[in-house]
Every structure is written in C-alpha cells, then in structure tokens.
C-alpha cells in the first residue's frame, strides 16, 4: 500500500521580481520500506517540494494533493499538521550544527521532541529513551554523551543525534535533505550505513534529497530527477544509471569524473540552470540541451513511459526507446534530432555549441 502519494504539486512564491515557480506539477509516490532519491541541481525545487509536504514553505501558493495514509497533508490545519510533523514524518536537514540548538543539551532536545508529541511520557522515561536512541545510532557511551552540548559533538555525531531525534517517535516516513553533504567521505559512509540499517529494522520509508549521484547509487530504490521545478525523469535506480532517457539525466551522469576514464575530458552540461521567474519557453532544459528540436522551443514535454519497462518515465520528446548510453541509442537520438530540428532549433543548437563550456557535444 502506498504510504505517500503526491499529485500535481505546484508551489509558487510571489516576490517583488515576479512569481518564482519553484515546483511546477510534480507527482510521485513512496512505498513503505522503500527509498526514493530526489536529485537535481541547486534551485531545481527538490527542497521546496519536500518542505511543502510538511507546511514548511510559508508564503508559497500551493496547489495539488499529497495524500499520506489517507489524509491530504496540504489541507491540514496547523494543529493537525503539528501532530504529523515529527511524529509520522520526520526530517533530517543538511547542516546538523544549525539544526541543533547550541544552548541546550543534546539529550534535552531529543526529550523535548518526544514530550512535545506525548505529554503522558514522564521526563524520566523520555530521558531513558533519548539514551537508548543515541546508543542505537552509534554514539559511544550514550549515558554520558546525552548531557553534552552540540558543540561537543563532531559533525558526524551531530548528524547521528539528528537521526536519533528523527527516529524518536518511530515515524513512517523520514525526509533526509542532503543528510551527508556536509560530512567527510568516511563519515558519510557511516551515516548512510546507519540510515540503511535503521530502515531495514523498522520498515520506514525514506525520501533522500541529494545532488550527489553517488549517494543515490548507494541507497535509493527509485529515483526522481528534477529540473527547473519539474520531474525530468523517474525510474528505478538501475534504469536511471544504465538506461537514462532525458538528456539532463544523461548529462548529469556523464559530467561525473569516473575512475575508469580518469584522464578523459569531462562532459559538462553547457550553460547555467534557468531563473525560476523567467523560465525558457517549451522544455525548460532546451537552452542547454544538445538534442534540441523545434517542438522543444514551444511545447512542454509531459512525463511519458519510455524504455521497455512500464515504471520508467521521462519528460522528453526523444523517441521513447532511446534509453541508455550505447552508440546505437545515440544514433537513434541523432536520427530523431535530424528529423525534428529545423531553422529555429538549429539557431539554439549553434548558441549552445558556441558557449565556452561546450565541448563540441552538441549534435550537428
């Protein structure tokens, strides 16, 4: 049974400069015990998307639905939301130093979380629970460390404390927003290992927001690739990494330095992400896309099934079977571009090819 189903979520922020279209119609679902990875560049709307679910985006104009266990999160009052936030859906933020209060002991902050949701739990029981949780997330000597202040913890320990806090009320869904970005590789491995283990123990669903495809490759089951507030591609982890369809997803994969081709030139995506106030016409990715065709300039592509398996969907006009990174597929893409590109798109393609970062990757 689906735990969370988000449908056509739109979030706009009116500002002095115009309306920021942060999320533009995103739908996805999360199953219990599964991990959904959301990837995209800064400003692609991934954080706004998940914070909106918990009513943490004040000032936003929100439409759409987000059904969590039968209730629409977007229609809840602040009081009703408070019962779900933290207890049913917990959040782990990127920066564990700023998400912990510097003047309160770590243990106190975990106890507060427990007691805020259930006053019937005694202070003593809450304190015991905090110690148990710190032990569970791998903090050595939890009975002593529970009385430490956040500054006495290292970065990795703070993130463990945040995870302990997130777990304290046994939530059904954890949203982890760049949980390991601020950490070293060895500590990141510890934290990812911990998240995976806890998830297996308690069948919690996890939404993992990250810009690091390596983290996604490690622990996600399904992946949602976002670009300019929309889903560019959605698929199982395997399909995203080995059978990408959308040129943006493909570009992300190709721009990572790989160990096998360590001396080769990297293939970056040309240009910069667009302004969310003045989005390009048609497909928002077209000013950076090596495969730009005429219809990309005027029509916005919808998410459609691509590849041979039903669950793989992509918002791109390239042929649905053009998935993967092989030469034959590249030829399929080239043929489609040859038929679909005329004067107007050719102009855009030339501009991309002339950009200084372009490495001649644009299809002629």
């Amino acid at each position: 049974m689906t735990l969370l189903e988000v449908k056509d979520l739109v979030v706009n922020f009116p500002t002095a400069d115009g309306v920021v279209k942060a999320v533009r119609g995103v739908s996805f679902s999360v199953e219990p015990g599964r991990t959904l990875g959301i990837v995209g560049e800064s400003g692609s709307g991934k954080t706004v998307l998940t914070q909106t679910l918990l009513a943490l985006t004040p000032g936003g104009d929100i439409t759409g639905h987000a059904v969590f266990e039968g209730t629409d999160l977007l229609s809840l009052s602040e009081d009703q939301m408070r019962k779900i936030r933290g207890a049913q859906i917990a959040v782990i933020f990127q920066d564990p130093l700023t998400s912990l209060h510097p003047l309160y002991r770590v243990g106190w902050q975990i106890e507060e979380m427990i007691r805020a949701h259930d006053r019937s739990i005694s202070k003593k029981a809450a304190a015991e629970r905090a110690i148990e949780l710190l032990g569970r997330v791998g903090i050595p000597q939890p009975r002593q460390r529970v009385n430490d202040y956040p500054h006495q913890f290292s970065g990795g320990m703070r993130q463990r404390a945040m995870i302990a806090m997130a777990l304290s009320l046994s939530p059904k869904l954890i949203i982890a927003d760049e949980p390991t970005t601020a950490l070293d590789a060895t500590v990141q491995a510890q934290i990812l290992d911990l998240l995976l283990r806890l998830q297996q123990e308690s069948d919690t669903a996890l939404i993992l927001i990250t810009h690091d495809l390596g983290v996604v490759a490690d622990i996600a089951d399904e992946v949602l690739v976002m670009y300019a507030g929309r889903a560019a591609e959605m698929a199982s982890k395997h399909d995203i990494f080995y059978q990408p369809h959308h040129p943006y997803a493909k570009g992300l994969l190709e721009s990572i330095p790989s160990s096998s081709a360590a001396t080769e030139r990297l293939k970056p995506i040309t240009g910069q992400p667009p302004s969310l106030i003045r989005l390009p016409s048609g497909c928002a990715f077209h000013p950076r896309c090596a495969y730009v065709m005429d219809r990309c300039l005027t029509e916005e592509p919808q998410l459609v099934a691509v590849g041979s398996i039903g669950a793989h969907r992509s918002a791109c006009f390239l042929p649905p079977l053009a998935v993967g990174l092989t030469d034959e597929v590249e030829q399929m893409r080239k043929n489609a571009v040859g038929q679909g590109r005329h004067a107007s798109a050719a102009e855009v393609a030339q501009a991309i090819a002339a950009a200084p970062e372009s490495q001649g990757s644009v299809i002629a």
């Binding site: 070293d184 590789a185 060895t186 500590v187 490690d218 990494f241 990572i256 330095p257 910069q272 970062e357």
Partner: protein, 362 residues
C-alpha cells in the same frame, strides 16, 4: 617527533615527469604547530595543535598534485604554508630552486606573483560590493604591473579566457551564478601568470554539471600556461581525475603518497583503503559489489594525537606495535619506488579489510 622522514624521501615521483631535481615546489619535512593558549590576561601556551607534522612532497612543473584527507587533517594548513600565508614552524619550502620558507614580506613579494590560490567558497571569496572587473584587476594594481587602460584590456582578456562574457566587466558578483563566480576566482588567480595555483576545494560548492565545466577549464589552463596545481579536495573521484600524483593525509602526516593510479588501484595504507572504499561511486552495480570499510569513530584531536601510528585507534588492522612505534613513510614490496606508505602492516593485494572493519561497528 619530526625527522622521521629522510629528506630524500621527498616525493621522488617527480622524476616520473622527467624532472627529478627540477620540481617546481619541494616541501621538506614541513611542520606547523599552532599554540593553544589558556588563561586570561597573562596567557600561557598549554599545548599545540599539530596541524601539519612532518610532510614532504614535490610538485613537478605542469603537474597536478592531489591532496586528500578528512576535515582537520591539515591539508589547508599545508597549502597555506606553501603559499607563504602563514609561517611554518620548521621544515623548508623550496620554490623554483629557492628557499621561500618564512621570508619577510618584502622578500616574499616576487613569489606571491608566482603562487596564487583559488578558494572553496565562490560566495565568500569575492567582495560583494565591488565590480567584477576591479576584483579581477586587483593583482595588477597590487603589483603595479599595468596602467589602468592596459588593466581593463587585460581583465577583459582574462574574462574571455575563463569563459565569462567580457561585457560583464561592470557587474557585481551577486549577478553571477556559483560556477561563474568560481570562474572569476580563476581569472583573478591567473592574472599575474603564476607558475603554481593552489586550489583549495575549488569545486566542492558547485553542482556536478557545473563542476565538470570548471574542472575542464582548469585542465585547459594547465595545458596553455604550463601551470602546476596543488589540488585539495575531499571528493576522491575529482582528485583522481585531475591529479598526476596524490598525497593522502591523516592527522597532519602523510599516510600514503605516490602516483595517482597505484595509490587508487592498490592502496597500501588501511586509511587510504577505507577512504577509497567509502567514496560513493555513481554506479549502483559497483556500489552493491563493493566492500565498504566502515571506520569507527572520529578523527582524534590533533592537540593530543595518539602514540605510535596516529591511525591505530581506528585501524581495522592495528596490532600492539602500531601503538608503540610510529611507522616510517617508505616504499613497500611490490610497489613502484615512488609509492610510499607509512604503515607497519600494509594492505596486501586482495586482502579483505571490510570484514575486520565491520566487526567493530554497530
């Protein structure tokens, strides 16, 4: 404490580039300790942060040396000592055959043109209230190398060279994206045609697609101007991509150093092996197949580093000897001469460290 490394152990891999004694930068046994003060009015020194404690390395001309290690291992301190931004406690830094360790401001000045830095944070390293043209033109003003007319032309050429629109000369940093700001930093570093650029986490704050743009730019500039780079990053795949040789640092010491490929393919130090196994690979199949070595605990305090091998409290292979005797950085059997490891019990090919590491976890 220092003196554990023979002076001639200094990175002989520079000879691989055909310039054994002709390395651009040679660092011998560099030590940097920061005093820890206590007491209010009359402060006294109660200890030292041993940020860098006896590191030797060499950077060949036109080569890139990668420096990797966790937060607090001393990589940035080492870089700042090489650049002459902070004085070294002991040891020598030789640049282009001349000893530049702890020179006076005046004596250091000509070398400042030769050694430039690019910083991590493209937001914090540019003054938000100054126009881009004047930021990039600063080096010309400070070193009095160009008239103002020449300066504008030079700045616009630099902007073009790093992929910025020269017409944006009068814009403010806030009008540029993160990747473009890093290009501004690169242009400023390039202005005086330095021989060495120290890149301190130059792409960590950037998205992957933009990161690739900046890495390609750095590699083009290296080819065009024959630059040497000291490249600091915590992203191991980035370091592998750009470097010719790497130094793996742990708590102020070099744990392992050598040519990039042998260190990455056959790491000998358990710490390097753990670091490499922990780095996420953007490839689900290799991620699933990989044996991750999960290190327990955190990096100890550099004020009071562990006795013997500094890594022994976290090492899955540690034995009694490791806590008693400090291992010397030396070549291990089967490795090329340039590949050196400071470990009593180096990792053997095919050895499974993951089993040992996981036992003590959870």
């Amino acid at each position: 404490m220092s003196g554990t490394l023979p002076a001639d152990a200094a990175a002989p891999w520079a000879s691989a580039s055909g310039s054994g004694d002709d390395a651009l930068v040679r660092v011998d046994n560099l030590v940097k300790h920061f005093p820890v003060k206590a007491g209010g009015l009359i402060s006294r020194t109660v200890g030292h942060v041993q940020a860098v404690d006896g590191v030797s390395l060499a950077i060949g001309r036109g080569q890139t040396l990668g420096l990797v290690g966790e937060t607090g291992c001393g990589k940035s301190t080492l870089a700042r000592c090489i650049a002459g931004l902070i004085p070294a406690t002991s040891g020598t830094v030789t640049f282009d055959g001349k000893d530049i360790t702890n020179l006076s401001r005046r004596a250091m000045r000509p070398f400042r043109r030769e050694i430039q830095m690019i910083f991590q944070d493209p937001y914090g390293s540019l003054n938000p209230r100054r126009r881009v043209g004047s930021i990039i033109g600063d080096p010309f003003v400070i070193h009095r190398t160009a008239t103002s007319a020449e300066r504008k032309k030079a700045v616009q050429e630099l902007m073009e060279r790093v992929g910025l629109n020269p017409e944006h000369y009068n814009r403010f940093p806030a009008e540029f994206s993160g990747g473009q700001r890093q290009r501004i930093g690169v242009a400023r570093a390039l202005a005086l045609r330095p021989k060495l650029i120290i890149c301190d986490e130059p792409v960590s704050a950037l998205d992957v697609s933009i990161q690739a743009q900046v890495l390609n730019l750095l590699s083009d500039l290296q080819d065009d101007f024959g630059l040497s780079y000291l490249f600091i990053a915590h992203d191991l795949s980035v370091v592998r991509h750009v470097s010719d040789a790497v130094v793996v640092m742990y708590l102020g010491r070099a744990a392992e150093q050598g040519p990039k490929d042998t260190v990455y393919d056959t790491p000998r130090h358990p710490y390097s092996a753990a670091l490499l196994s922990a780095a996420p690979a953007a490839d689900p199949e290799s991620a699933a197949a990989r044996q991750r070595i999960i290190l327990t605990g955190d990096v100890p305090s550099p004020i009071n580093p562990p006795n013997g091998c500094r890594f022994h409290p976290r090492c899955p292979k540690a034995q009694d000897l490791c806590s008693e005797q400090e291992p010397v950085l030396e070549g291990k059997a089967g490795d090329p001469a340039e590949h050196m490891t400071a470990c009593h019990f180096p990792v053997q090919t095919g050895e499974n460290l993951a089993a040992a590491g996981r036992g003590s976890h959870s």
